[in-house]
Symmetry: C2
Subunit: 217 residues, 2 copies
C-alpha cells in the first residue's frame, strides 16, 4: 500500500454547506420558487462565481474547494427538501429533482423521506433511492453503493445535523457567505457535546467567502 | 475640510467581538473564574498572539485589526458582566473591574447596570460611570464624553445586541475563532430585520482567525 490505512477507509463528508455571517443555512419559507427560503439572496454567489471561473479554466481558493467536494465521491445522501419542494405524500412521480434530466451526481443518491417511492434512474448514471430507514442503515447502504469511495451528504442542514449529532460525519467543509439574514434555519443549533469530537483544520478567505473545514480530532 | 462630512460624524463601533465557528460569543456559566463561561477555551488566542506580535514589533492581519479597534476612541460602553462577575446589588465597592489598577481604556467608560454606584476614577485616565439610563441616553452621554471621537461598545454580546437591535451601531468587527463550543450565548439571536441596514464590507483570514466587518449600507 502506498497510502496509510487512515486514508483508505471511506469517509462521510460534507462540502460547501454555506452559512450567512449570522449562521443561517436557509431563510424561512423554503419552497419551489425559493428553495433556500426568503431573505437569503446571495448565499451561493461565491459558488456560481467559482463555477464560472472553473469553466474558464481559472483556479483559486473557491474553485479549489469546489473541486475538493467532487473528488472521490461514490454516493450521496440528502434530505427530502434537497430533492424537491414537495411536502407530505408524493402527489405523483413527475418531480424528479431540481437538476433536470441529467443530474450532476452520476452515482447512487439516497433521499431520506417518510414517503416511499420507486427508485428513479436518470441520465448520466444518477439513481435516486428513496428511504425511510435509520441514518445508520442508509449510511451503510451508501458506503456499499460507493464501493470504496467516500460518501457525501448533500444537505440540507437538518439532514447534516442528524448525522453530526450521531457522530457519523468525518469531514465538514463550511462556507461563510458575506450576507446577513436575520432568521431562518441554522446548521449549528443545540449541538451540545456532538461537536466535541471535531476540530477546525482550515480557515481561509477569498474575496467572495470564507472556508472553514472541520475534521475529527 | 479635507475629509468629507461622513468621516467626521462620530461613530458607534464594535471591535473584535469574537465568536466560535458555531456562533457563540460565550459559553454557559460565565463567572469570576471563567469570565467567558465553560467550554470556550481558545476563543481569544488570536488576540493574545496578536498582542504578543505587536509587542515584538510585528504586523499582520490580526495586529492591524487590533490596532484599528483602538484608533480614535473617546469613550467606551459596556454591560455589567464585562465590568465584573458580581450579580445583583453591589455587596461593597471593592470590585474595580477585570483590568487592575490601570485599565487600558484611559477615557470615560459607561457601565450599564441596574445597581447604582458612585463613579470610579482609576489610574491612567479611565473613569467608570455606572448607569441604568436607556441606551439612547447612555450613548448620548458617551458621545459627549468622547468630545468628537468615536464611541466603542466593549461588550458583552447582550449589550451589543441591544444597540444593534436599536440600529445604533455604525461598524461591527467580528472575529471567528477556530473553535467549536456547542452551547452558550450567541451574538446573533433573533435579530430579524435589525440586520437589514448592514452589509459585509470585509472578510479576511489569518492563520489564527477570520475577521468579518459590517458597516451600514
Amino acid at each position: 500500500m502506498t497510502k496509510n490505512q487512515e486514508n483508505t477507509v471511506p469517509k462521510l463528508r460534507v462540502h460547501h454547506l454555506t452559512l450567512s455571517v449570522d449562521g443561517y443555512a436557509a431563510g424561512p419559507r423554503q419552497r419551489l420558487e425559493a428553495p433556500f427560503g426568503d431573505g437569503i439572496d446571495g448565499l451561493h454567489d461565491w459558488m456560481f462565481a467559482a463555477m464560472r471561473d472553473r469553466a474558464n479554466g481559472r483556479t483559486g481558493v473557491d474553485v479549489d474547494r469546489l473541486d475538493l467536494g467532487e473528488e472521490n465521491i461514490g454516493a450521496t445522501i440528502m434530505g427530502r427538501n434537497m430533492f424537491g419542494p414537495v411536502r407530505g405524500p408524493w402527489q405523483d412521480e413527475t418531480w424528479t429533482g431540481w437538476w433536470g434530466d441529467t443530474p450532476p451526481y452520476r452515482h447512487p443518491v439516497f433521499v431520506h423521506t417518510h414517503h416511499q417511492r420507486a427508485a428513479l434512474s436518470m441520465e448520466g448514471g444518477t439513481t435516486f433511492h428513496f428511504t425511510d430507514e435509520p441514518i445508520e442503515t442508509v449510511l451503510q447502504r451508501a458506503f456499499e453503493a460507493a464501493a470504496g469511495k467516500d460518501v457525501r451528504i448533500g444537505g440540507g442542514p437538518a439532514t447534516i445535523r442528524q448525522y453530526l449529532r450521531a457522530g457519523l460525519v468525518d469531514q465538514l467543509h463550511l462556507v461563510i457567505a458575506p450576507i446577513l439574514v436575520g432568521r431562518g434555519e441554522r446548521l449549528f443549533d443545540g449541538m451540545g457535546d456532538a461537536l466535541d469530537g471535531y476540530r477546525v483544520v482550515e480557515q481561509i478567505s477569498s474575496a467572495a467567502a470564507t472556508h472553514i473545514s472541520l475534521a475529527r480530532r
